[in-house]
């Protein structure tokens, strides 16, 4: 399954709920304000790292760039995709769940 998360983990509990409900092997794509959850060295990154490996984490490049987040700031294991990559992720997984 592909999960998409578009909210900052500092503002909303959406990302946390997604991580707690996703199953090993699932993919999580961070978009819009959700990309802040992909940054290392934050108050939530330790929590996120626990799921890293069991889950495959992606972040949308155009949303990272808009927010001034450099690739070097990302947690290990996070893959950056563009909108085309987003489309490919949706196609690759049977079901997409948007965590709104």
């Amino acid at each position: 399954m592909l999960h998409t998360v578009n909210k900052s983990p500092f503002e909303k509990s959406t990302f946390e709920s997604c991580l707690n409900h996703a199953r090993p092997g699932d993919a999580v794509l961070l978009i819009e304000d959700g990309v802040y959850g992909a940054v290392k060295g934050t108050a939530v990154s330790g929590q996120v790292a626990k799921f890293n490996g069991d889950l495959k984490l992606y972040a949308l490049g155009p949303d990272l760039a808009a927010r001034g987040i450099k690739d070097a700031s990302l947690m290990e294991g996070v893959s950056v995709v563009d909108y085309g990559g987003f489309v490919d992720l949706v196609a690759k997984h049977d079901v997409s769940q948007a965590w709104l």
Partner: protein
């Protein structure tokens, strides 16, 4: 790719899950999700609802909206059985975090046509892990 390849073994039906994670009244998402469920009931698909996070607040009993000038739409959940929507998964952990017990929820039932129309509870309490399993089995997940 033909449709059949993607479909589960239940003939032409797809498994639809409506995810409810938000409280009622503060925003319209709970109400407009319910409106999708009611319309969707006419399509003879395999329908389930999931209530977790703040979504469990949607089916708390004794809602009285007279003081805020909004319509109390909670009775509609009790009518879901008439629309053959009979599976409402409610996450235990979400209830506990909010200090709620199953007794705080409305009684929502349906009449089981396979069991001489016996009245049965529509709410199924599930753990977080069980809910994850339910989500993993779906063909379409709509979350508002």
């Amino acid at each position: 790719m033909s449709m059949e390849e993607d479909l589960p073994g239940t003939g032409d039906q797809k498994k639809f899950l409506y995810v409810n994670r938000r409280a009622p009244y503060g925003t319209i998402y709970a109400l407009e999700s319910l409106e999708v469920v009611l319309i969707g009931a006419a399509f003879d698909q395999d329908v389930s609802l999931a209530f977790f996070d703040d979504g469990v607040y949607q089916i708390v009993k004794d809602q009285d909206t007279s003081g805020i000038g909004m319509k109390n739409f909670s009775p509609t959940y009790r009518a879901l059985g008439d629309y053959e929507v009979t599976r409402l998964y409610v996450e235990k952990e979400s209830l506990e975090e909010r200090g709620l017990t199953p007794d705080d929820l409305m009684e929502i039932t349906y009449e089981d046509e396979d069991d001489d129309w016996a009245e049965k509870p529509s709410v199924r309490l599930v753990s977080r892990a069980e809910l994850s399993e339910v989500m993993a089995e779906q063909d379409v997940i709509l979350s508002f």
